[in-house]
């Protein structure tokens, strides 16, 4: 068993090694494929079921996606099929997350919607090698296997299986710098195309009661004067990560507002949350669960204490380095 693990590990590393040298250049096809995948996820209607594996856990989820049409906004419903019933409904500028245990949370965006370049090209080619390495079959569909290999240790690598016809994501494997698999997502069935009326009706079934509404505002300074940066900034970012969006929202854990900044390098993304702390039970902690790393640090300014929390699909070391570098903008020397 141990030996098998070792062999698989070595093979994977070897696979990376070989592919890293055989075709060192990112092919234009691969870039195009990644762009098409991001576009298809928005512009196509589809429904399907997929499994998500992380560590010893395996979860089944289902998704219904309605593309944006002339008079309909983009809609999506993700249903967790295992364990406590939970679902996500995304519709226009609203997003509902309902959980059997914790009630319904509604996220409501103002006029400015965040645009996050996740799984899109652009900067990503400078920090990842993108390679098409083969043809496979996933969920009964022909798939193109695309490797997304990071060029440094600040980010994870992906193996992506994209539908040959639609470029939709069929399977995704996240790999760390040791070649160890961190998470897997894989469709077991996928139907692309016009949704039937009864399926569409499911998308309109919004939760009846809302327990908590989170009104998301663009950072006030940010929206009025676009060139004024947010109140908080990071002193260090891994190369390639850029600020995609900055908002203010009520904190989910206290009565204060929290500044939320999201950064992306085109593939991975992480958020930095800063909120005033008045619990006086300060803590610093870090946790890694599957693909998500979470780090919390304390920043002190005079008598005021702030919680800095970094969450994202980046290695824990990267998240920690970002977290300790967060500082108020005005402190810039």
């Amino acid at each position: 068993m141990k030996q098998m693990q070792w062999i698989t590990g070595k093979l994977l590393v070897l696979c990376f090694f070989v592919s890293g040298f055989v075709s060192a250049e990112t092919s234009p096809d691969a870039v195009y494929l990644l762009e098409r995948m991001a576009a298809s996820a928005k512009s196509l209607s589809f429904r399907g079921e997929f499994v998500y594996q992380q560590g010893a856990q395996l979860q089944t989820l289902s998704v219904i996606h309605q593309a944006e049409a002339e008079n309909i906004s983009e809609k999506e419903r993700i249903l967790y099929l295992d364990g406590a019933p939970r679902e996500v409904i995304r519709s226009g500028n609203e997003l509902f997350f309902s959980s059997y245990n914790e009630g319904v949370t509604r996220f409501q965006h103002g006029s400015l919607m965040p645009v996050v370049n996740k799984f899109q090209s652009g900067v990503s080619e400078r920090f990842y090698d993108l390679k098409i390495v083969g043809i496979d079959r996933v969920a009964g569909r022909e798939a193109v296997l695309l490797l997304v290999l990071p060029k440094d240790r600040f980010r994870y690598g992906y193996q992506l299986w994209l539908d040959r016809v639609s470029s939709l994501l069929l399977k995704s494997v996240l790999v760390d710098d040791q070649g160890k698999i961190i998470e897997r997502l894989q469709f077991t069935s996928l139907n692309v195309g016009q949704l039937s009326d009864d399926v569409l009706a499911l998308l309109d079934r919004k939760p009846s009661g809302v327990d908590e509404t989170i009104q998301i505002r663009s950072n006030p300074e940010h929206s009025e004067k676009p060139d004024v940066p947010p109140e908080w900034e990071t002193g260090w970012l891994p190369d390639g990560f850029v600020l995609e969006n900055s908002t203010v929202r009520p904190s989910p854990v206290s009565k204060h507002d929290v500044d939320a900044l999201i950064f992306s390098d085109g593939i991975a993304s992480f958020s930095v949350f800063v909120e005033q702390d008045d619990t006086r039970v300060l803590s610093q902690a870090s946790e890694q669960i599957g693909a998500l790393s979470a780090v919390s640090k304390i920043y002190r300014e005079g008598n005021q204490y702030f919680h800095v929390t970094v969450v994202g699909d980046i290695p824990l070391g990267t998240a920690e380095r970002v977290a300790v570098s967060v500082r108020p903008v005005k402190m810039k020397p």
Partner: protein
């Protein structure tokens, strides 16, 4: 003939254990066997060095210390320390002389054979010998030094004593140690468990916020929300 082939196969096995150890996948037994041998076997040590170099290159970070063999120094240090301890126990006052006196090979074997100590010492020594841990150095301190402007405002370093031991379970409560005067360990433990829970809740809540943030703009909500299940099941 057969003896030779069995020796060869034992050797192959040892190499394999070495490789597994470098991957951090070895059982304690395997690790101990490798440690036991690596001290006496120059070939094996050289091989470990090469494996490490290959690993580093594959990971894209060749270390400037990669060629420095410090295993001998570590062995000596451990040997010395064991001698110190035993010397102090057996002959009071002889500590100074035992520290510099040469330690016999037999004694060395005995020390290596004692299980509990070896397990600890071995993992420490091995980590240093092959540098398995240097791939992801704990960044806080050096980063603080690099990035923080020299002002009165500094992040509060609560866990200064052991910057490696935080984690959801290693949380310090309270602003500074003065507050803990007159607090019983039970109260402290209770405060820590509260802080643990608060942190966990915050991570959970922020994981949802992050999923929302990254889903709204990108359209790639499947992965973002699937990841929440990991936090849910804690």
């Amino acid at each position: 003939m057969s003896e030779k082939s069995s020796q060869n196969s034992a050797r192959e096995h040892l190499k394999e254990s070495l490789s597994v150890s470098l991957d951090g996948q070895a059982s304690e037994l395997e690790l101990r066997r490798v440690i036991d041998s690596i001290g006496k076997d120059d070939d094996l040590r050289a091989l470990a060095g090469r494996y490490q170099l290959i690993g580093e290159t594959l990971r894209g970070n060749s270390s400037k210390f990669a060629n420095v063999d410090i295993s001998r120094g570590v062995m000596n240090a451990i040997e010395q320390e064991e001698a110190d301890n035993t010397g102090a126990q057996n002959v009071s006052g002889a500590k100074g002389s035992s520290a510099i006196s040469p330690v016999s090979g037999r004694f060395f074997e005995d020390v290596w054979a004692s299980l509990g100590k070896v397990a600890v010492a071995a993992s420490v020594a091995f980590a240093i010998v092959v540098g398995v841990r240097n791939s992801n150095p704990s960044p806080d301190l050096q980063v603080l030094a690099e990035n923080e402007p020299v002002t009165l405002t500094q992040p509060v370093q609560l866990a200064q004593s052991g910057h490696n031991d935080y984690g959801a379970l290693g949380i310090r409560a309270g602003y500074n140690s003065r507050q803990h005067d007159g607090i019983t360990p039970e109260q402290l433990a209770y405060a820590q468990s509260l802080a643990d829970r608060a942190t966990r809740e915050r991570f959970h809540a922020y994981a949802l916020q992050h999923a929302e943030l990254s889903a709204m703009g990108s359209g790639q909500s499947i992965l973002s929300f699937a990841r929440l299940t990991s936090f849910d099941n804690q």
